[in-house]
């Protein structure tokens, strides 16, 4: 079912949590709300569900106004960050709760409820755990019970609040692909909140990036990654090296070295270059480039990480292949050649990732 959110505003006291957010999700779409903590993503999800009341704005499912309805009449499947399973009920009772809570006329019979519970538990691969209590399950299992419970009411839309937030990295990866499969099978319009950019980029059809209660950019993972609308989005979606630069004839000049710019950029003057750590070439000889000295080599992991002290001051970490790194030794002098950079005006550095001064 399609979802249309228009101009939602929400204040907590004097703190503006949402400053006019508009968003559209198509029928069957898998949408991620991505942002740092305090960006308003969970508030937005709770407004859609009716767990928070917006100060103004509209939420509609396939054109039907939702804000006039109380939570329990909205038909929303909501999976809470900490699952919120009913701790005194068994897994099966948890899943059956929504069906038993229906008005008498719509309530299915006992045998139907039992059959549906069994069907849902098998769908989330917990067939034999119906008699267990939530506290007897692992985090990943609880997560799936919460999902089965939400799906039991045949929701119009599925909302997930940091669905993998409380799980360890390995379980998280397993559940991710499982959730993607489940979405393909159910075809439910699904919105999930996350602060993990990897999760959002891997799972979602489209990602909405929020910052300070406002939408920063909405797009497919590819669009966001390759065509970020702002320094914030670029920085939030991956590790970033930031260096001051100037624009001269469409080229970013960093310490006298001209690097090619991709994407839109300011027409001139002082600006800031944003570079991914793997978009540097490393050269041991003399010539153009940013002079630096190798401080440390980290050779474990899929790529080698080289910690470099820049001659202009500060330090950055770049990533290169293990083959290239094999030629390097600590304290060696190198030149860093940014292969491509993005440039935004230097108004406000987005994070603390800018190079910190190091002692010579």
């Amino acid at each position: 079912m399609s979802l249309e959110i228009s101009n939602i505003i929400k204040q907590y006291g004097r703190f503006p949590a949402l400053k006019g957010v508009s968003l559209f999700a198509e029928d069957g779409e898998f949408l991620a709300l991505l942002g740092p903590s305090g960006s308003g993503k969970t508030t937005l999800l709770r407004v859609i569900a009716g767990l928070e009341i917006a100060d103004s704005g509209a939420v509609a499912f396939r054109g039907e106004d939702m804000l006039v309805k109380p939570v329990r009449q909205r038909g929303i499947g909501f999976v809470f960050q900490h699952y919120a399973l009913f701790r005194h009920m068994t897994v099966a009772q948890n899943v059956a709760f929504g069906m038993r809570a229906k008005p008498r006329k719509e309530r299915p019979g006992n045998t139907q409820i039992k059959a549906r519970v069994a069907e849902l538990l098998s769908m989330v691969q917990l067939d034999h755990l119906g008699g267990r209590y939530p506290s007897q399950l692992s985090g990943g299992q609880r997560q799936r019970v919460a999902l089965a419970r939400a799906l039991a009411i045949d929701p119009k839309i599925l909302l997930l609040d940091e669905p993998f937030g409380a799980l360890d990295a390995k379980v998280r990866r397993e559940l991710r692909s499982w959730l993607r499969d489940l979405h393909e099978r159910t075809g439910l319009t699904t919105i999930f909140v996350t602060h993990d950019q990897e999760e959002a980029l891997e799972l979602a059809d489209r990602v909405a990036v929020l910052k300070d209660g406002q939408l920063e950019q909405v797009g497919t993972p590819e669009e966001l990654y390759h065509d970020p609308a702002s320094a914030f989005v670029f920085d939030f979606l991956g590790d970033t090296v930031q260096l001051p630069c100037s624009i001269e004839g469409g080229i970013a000049v960093i310490d006298g070295y001209g690097a090619p710019i991709i994407g839109a950029h300011p027409s001139g003057g002082a600006a800031r270059a944003y570079i991914r750590p793997d978009e540097f070439a490393l050269d041991g000889g003399e010539g153009p480039g940013l002079g630096a000295r190798v401080r440390n080599l980290i050779l474990a992991g899929p790529e080698a990480r080289v910690d470099c002290a820049l001659e202009r001051g500060g330090s950055i970490e770049v990533r290169i292949s293990h083959d290239e790194a094999a030629k390097l030794t600590p304290r060696q002098r190198v030149r860093l050649l940014p292969r491509r950079v993005r440039v935004w005006s230097d108004a406000a550095p987005t994070t603390d990732m800018s190079p910190e001064p190091v002692e010579a």
Partner: protein
Amino acid sequence: MSGRSIARRDPPWLVAALIAIACLYFALVLMMPLVTVFMEAFRQGTETYLAAISEPDAISAVKLTLLVAGIAVPLNTVFGIAAAWAVSKFEFWGKSALLTLIDLPFSISPVISGLVFVLLYGINGWFGPWLDQHNIQIIFTVTGLVLATTLVTLPFVARELIPLMQAQGTDEEAAAATLGAGPLRTFFFVTLPNIRWALMYGVLLCTARAMGEFGAVAVVSGHIRGETTTMPLHIEILYNEYNSAAAFAMASLLSLFALVTLAVKSMLEAQFADDLAAHRLR
């Protein structure tokens, strides 16, 4: 493990001395008075004992005590749940004031609690003339006893529930709402089962305190024998009349009520522990 190894290193005389002090203190301060109550009660034989507790005034005191507790405890149970619910699930102006005031009956002397009602409803009190005109009497009646007892035992249920409900948060209630449950269903199927053991515990403590209440009740009672004397008041009257056999007989009965409450509480705790353990398995 580390606790055990530290205990092993303690000199034996210290361990023995600490245990001895604890046991002695316990025996002197707690066990001896309790045993004395029962010994004194039966000193003049079982017949005197039975006569003392089956005398009409004694029976009416027992009945009155149960009646007062039977009204005050349900009142404070309902209030306790409502207050705990309000405090733990909502944000509202004056919340911290409410939290502090709930504890007030713990900290003020019960005598004052009694006097307050005399000041309000007594013949010379604020509402005294109005009540008198309408022929309503509160002080020196069962109504007064119930009011005083309710005030003194007000915090027990609320105090047990508030920390638990605050720790549990509102997620389960929110989940119930998204699943289509109305407020009543949410309360009886989600909230109440989650607080049932704490609730029972609070109700028991409240009951024990309500039955034993003396100070506030003494002020509003007027000591009308057979009419407004609860068990603690009846014991005092008997004792002041140098009828110590009867006084201790009643005292033993009241102690027995307290011991039964304690036993039920322990049973509940054991039950609760089983329940918790079952939930913690694996």
